[in-house]
């Protein structure tokens, strides 16, 4: 199983717009990606409700995991997303 541990860069944490963008991207991989905060249990990364309920704040570590073909590439993409301040990137 592929895994990445990332520090969440968004100022508001993994809430609101960052949570929306992340879960949409996780769903788009079609890989059943999970996300866990610290040592906590993993939850479905495509579920905005589960992701928000983690209550991940700015600067906290999360671990994302996935299995199957293209898991590494998918996780690299998602890790990059988490390491970006999504609140600063405004929609065009």
């Amino acid at each position: 199983m592929a895994q990445r541990t990332v520090v969440v860069a968004s100022g508001v944490g993994l809430h609101a717009r960052p949570a929306k963008l992340f879960t949409q991207a996780a769903a788009a991989t079609g890989l059943g990606v999970t996300i866990a905060k610290g040592d906590g249990p993993p939850v479905d990364a495509a579920s905005i409700l589960r992701v928000m309920a983690l209550g991940v704040k700015h600067g906290e570590e999360v671990t994302i995991s996935a299995e199957g073909d293209g898991a590494d590439e998918a996780l690299d993409g998602l890790a990059e997303l988490l390491a970006t301040d999504l609140d600063a990137v405004k929609p065009a």
């Binding site: 968004s10 100022g11 508001v12 609101a16 717009r17 879960t23 495509a46 928000m52 309920a53 209550g55």
Partner: protein, 563 residues
């Protein structure tokens, strides 16, 4: 007795206005009958809920695009909740286990709502979004109209169980005569918006659910009542008050008692736009400029240049008038990306307000430098104060930093009881103090400002809170330094008289509340204000304190302001 004809509903009023108009009900949330039997065809029920979730998500998505901006963002996230795979799966699982479709939706969303509510803070506020998803999906399943505020065909009194921020934003304000809410609280979102716009509003009205579309009601924000089918006397009374309030709003002189004792009437603002709206307004200046708006929702601190531009706009808009700028009041509950704090158990008691100087002194110094620049560029002399100061050392530290930055008049907020109890010592370090009565009540009464159900404990008439205000005003008088009030309690005309009697030197409030305070002050001498204050302080309870003060208020003032 014909119950309907004489029915009066009670709640908490926002503002002083009154209005008569027909009820327009926001469509209520559908009630889910919990004991209904499960579906015979579970596959069909599962298809129906999946379709309902998808349709609600699509409709929210469409509204998000139309709304744009912050509301668009909120609606977009809500749309995503409506197609959350776990929520849909859990609903389907419950149907498989024998639950009716609506019950399955209700229970599955309730689980997440509980989770969010338990987490508190930002997540707890999102419970409203989840509830709106549930209501829309259930309404769709049961063939009911979409819950929320309808399009208004004529000017109406909007009646709802509760209004989400999105509902409030969608109101056609030119057709909203008044707002009646069954839940919510006087410091909630809807109440604040209504207060700013001067729309009569009554919240926490028990029995509002029974009001029917088209029924005429008299909404009295001053009394906190909703009268069903008002008779001609009531209608005439409402009209008289409307005219009287409109007349008061035209008066423009400085605040002073009947015998000429001056009490400055100032406005609370949050943005440069607010300041620009005051250019022609009959206020003597700004008693509280909350600078948080500049900082919130950003990922990096605003630069000195950016801040100086805003402060300059504010000072220009109010040229020649007093402006009190409050330095950044943010902290754990209003997190800033650039002042990283790990989760605090009690954000209201954490590193907020001036306490941020412990971890990010440069933030304060940059802000003060920007204020100094704006002062030089405009030739104005703003006063500057720090929030959440608890000790003499903190007051001295702020005064030193502010004076180093070139601020001529330095003050601190008194909103922590310790600062009120030792106001003399605190005031010795600075040039003025300003009482933040909302936070002072929160900290004196150990009551979260955001909890509607504890609103009685937050009453600024609580004797202990009045004592703290009195101590502070007395210290100001003894040292010959200004002690103002910039909490919303100044907006209550009776309280304005009490504060004046206690020796408070300025009253700062939302601009809409200034005319009533000006009128009340002009009808009482300073000596009478002192008597009113003494009567209030003799009360053992908040209700006694207000009743005792009110009994000494001029009858005409009571009538015009419906006190």
């Amino acid at each position: 007795m014909t119950a309907v004809a004489s029915q009066v509903l009670h709640g908490s009023g926002v503002g002083r206005g009154a209005v008569v108009g027909p009820v327009a009900r926001a469509h209520p949330a559908p009630r889910v009958q919990q004991d209904q039997p499960g579906p015979e065809d579970r596959e069909a029920a599962k298809r129906a809920v999946t379709e309902a979730f998808a349709a609600v998500a699509a409709s929210l998505e469409q509204r998000a695009e139309q709304a744009g901006g912050t509301i668009g963002e909120v609606l977009g996230a809500t749309a995503l909740m409506a197609q959350d795979p776990e929520l849909v799966d859990q609903t389907r699982t419950r149907i498989d286990a024998g639950a009716a479709a609506a019950v399955a939706v209700d229970r599955a969303t309730a689980e997440f709502m509980d989770l969010f509510a338990a987490a508190g803070g930002y997540l707890a506020e999102r419970v409203t979004d989840l509830r709106s998803v549930r209501d829309r999906v259930v309404a769709r399943l049961e063939g009911l109209p979409e819950p929320g505020v309808p399009a208004l065909a004529r000017p109406s009194v909007v009646v709802a169980e509760d209004l989400s921020p999105a509902d409030t934003a969608a109101l056609e304000l030119d057709k909203v005569l008044g707002i009646v809410i069954e839940q919510g609280g006087p410091t909630g979102h809807t109440a604040i918006i209504a207060g700013q716009l001067g729309i009569p509003c009554v919240v926490r009205v028990r029995g509002a659910a029974a009001l029917q579309d088209g029924t005429e009601v008299a909404v009295d924000a001053a009394a906190g009542t909703v009268l069903v089918d008002p008779d001609e006397t009531v209608r005439a009374n409402v009209e008289t008050r409307r005219v009287a309030l409109a007349t008061l709003a035209e008066a423009s002189g400085p605040g002073q008692t009947a015998d000429g004792h001056e009490v400055a009437l100032l406005a609370n603002i949050g943005t440069a736009e607010d300041a620009e709206r005051l250019t022609d307004a009959a206020v003597q200046g700004v008693g509280l400029f909350r600078t948080e708006v500049l900082f919130l929702g950003r990922t990096t601190a605003p630069t000195e240049d950016e801040q100086a531009v805003v402060y300059t706009r504010v000072l220009r808009a109010l040229a020649g008038r007093k402006v009190v700028i409050r330095t950044l009041d943010a902290g754990a509950d209003k997190p800033l990306a650039f002042v990283t704090r790990q989760g605090e158990e009690n954000p209201a008691l954490g590193v907020r307000g001036f306490r941020l100087v412990r971890t990010a002194e440069d933030l304060l110094r940059t802000q003060l430098a920007a204020i100094g620049r704006a002062a030089r560029e405009t030739g104005e002399q703003p006063w500057v104060m720090a929030p959440m100061v608890a000790t003499v050392e903190e007051a001295a530290q702020f005064a030193a930093i502010a004076r180093e930055s070139g601020v001529a008049t330095v003050g601190v907020m008194v909103e922590v009881p310790s600062a009120a109890l030792r106001a003399r010592d605190v005031l010795a370090e600075v040039d003025f103090v300003s009482l933040g009565t909302n936070d002072l009540a929160q900290y004196a009464m150990a009551t979260d400002r955001l909890l509607g159900e504890l609103v009685d404990l937050l009453d600024p008439w609580q004797p202990a809170v009045l004592d703290l205000v009195a101590l502070t005003a007395q210290a100001g008088a003894e040292l010959g330094k200004p002690a103002g009030v910039c909490g919303e309690s100044a907006a209550d005309p009776v309280m304005a008289l009490v504060l004046t009697g206690l020796g408070v030197t300025s009253l700062s409030m939302s601009p809409a509340a200034v005319p009533a305070a000006r009128f009340a002050l002009a009808r009482h001498t300073r000596a009478r204000c002192v008597e009113i204050a003494e009567a209030a302080r003799d009360g053992r309870t908040a209700a006694e304190a207000r009743a005792a003060a009110l009994a000494l208020v001029d009858p005409e003032v009571r009538e015009v302001l419906a006190l």
